[in-house]
């Protein structure tokens, strides 16, 4: 590999890293590509039934009808919840 090719490779990696954003989902930090809507993220997570979850973003409810429009940003805190047994 030539030096210039090596430099280009490093630049590519660095630019990809720069486009990554860190999102906290249910308390767990994840690095994700920079352009992602909430709907795309939920599809990516592979949950079996999206009709049965609700999502909060940075402490505020993210209504289902806005998932497709909601662009995620670096540092976002998401809570994805569902119903479990309780009294």
């Amino acid at each position: 590999m030539t030096v210039s090719a090596y430099v280009r490779g490093v630049e590519t990696v660095l630019s990809l890293v720069a486009q990554l954003m860190e999102i906290t989902i249910n308390g767990e930090k994840r690095a994700l590509p920079g352009h992602l809507t909430l709907a795309e993220l939920l599809a990516e997570l592979g949950l079996t039934d999206l009709r049965r979850v609700a999502v909060e973003r940075n402490g505020a409810l993210a209504p289902r009808d806005q998932w497709g429009k909601l662009q995620l940003a670096d540092g976002d805190q998401l809570e994805i919840v569902h119903f479990v047994g309780g009294g």
């Binding site: 989902i25 249910n26 308390g27 767990e28 997570l45 592979g46 949950l47 079996t48 039934d49 999206l50 009709r51 049965r52 979850v53 609700a54 999502v55 909060e56 402490g59 409810l61 209504p63 289902r64 809570e79 994805i80 919840v81 569902h82 119903f83 479990v84 047994g85 309780g86 009294g87």
Partner: protein
């Protein structure tokens, strides 16, 4: 004589009629099939659920709902384990989003060991949620003044404990429940938490409570569907006894059979 007729004796909360006065939970069952069988046997039309993070490694989000009869039962999300009004409000909003129904059982807990409510936080959460259009059923600490504040804050029903959550101790507060029954007439009173077996439920209903919400007593019975059936009978028996109006208590005997016509000498 009470004028309510048992044939038309529905429980009405926020304008919705319930044929059953039993509300049942979904926690602590050995498995979901057993839970479903117990729910059917109970006849309950209100079922509580908790709102929790999805396990992203497991992904089977919402599987509990496969075991709930959504056509017959009203799902009542709770805010269990919330320690601030703010967290209770957030949790209630999330719960509403899942099914789109505005009903919520509000808990704001103040103490970990007893799970007794933080009444100040509870009143605050009840007011905030009622303003947002929720039908709010707060779990509280059997205190008359708190009950009045909750009604003022917009509670659709109030839910005093009878003993600590999950304790199975039975009705520990006859006096305060009776006082609540006499003093609070604006909204239904549902005993929430503390019953251990069917007789506890019957006693709550005989005291004039409008219903009982329970979970652990059925879920952790040796045979949950059988205990659920017992609870159904107890709700009905206790309610009928309340409507019938019990006889006064006497310290001494009062002969049931006449003294006239005895063949021997009169005592």
């Amino acid at each position: 004589m009470t004028n309510a007729s048992p044939s038309d004796d529905a429980l009405v909360i926020a304008g919705r009629r319930f044929a059953s006065r039993l509300m049942i939970g979904t926690g602590k069952y050995p498995d979901l099939e057993t839970m479903r069988a117990a729910h059917r046997a109970s006849g309950a039309e209100v079922v509580t659920v908790a709102v929790r993070r999805v396990n992203l490694a497991d992904r089977s989000a919402g599987s509990l709902m496969d075991y709930l009869d959504l056509d017959r039962m009203l799902i009542l999300p709770n805010t269990a384990a919330c320690y601030t009004a703010e967290d209770a409000v957030r949790t209630a909003r999330l719960g509403r989003e899942i099914l789109g129904t505005p009903w919520v059982k509000v808990e704001v807990i103040g103490d970990e060991k007893t799970l007794f409510p933080d009444n100040a936080g509870l009143i605050e959460a009840t007011r905030a949620l009622a303003k947002e259009g929720f039908i709010v059923l707060p779990y509280f600490n059997d205190d008359l003044v708190v009950a009045r504040r909750l009604v003022d804050a917009g509670a659709a029903a109030i839910m005093p404990l009878a003993a600590p959550i999950g304790s199975g101790l039975g009705i520990q507060n006859f006096t305060t429940l009776r006082i609540l029954r006499e003093m609070i007439t604006e909204v239904p009173i549902i005993v929430d938490a503390g019953v251990g077996t069917a007789s506890d439920v019957a006693i709550a209903m005989e005291l004039g409570m409008d219903g009982v919400l329970l979970n652990t007593a059925v879920a952790t019975a040796q045979h949950p569907p059988l205990m659920a059936a017992a609870m159904k009978c107890a709700i009905e028996a206790g309610r009928l006894a309340y409507l019938a109006g019990r006889m006064p208590r006497r310290l001494y005997a009062s002969a049931t059979s006449p003294l006239d016509g005895l063949i021997g000498p009169r005592p």
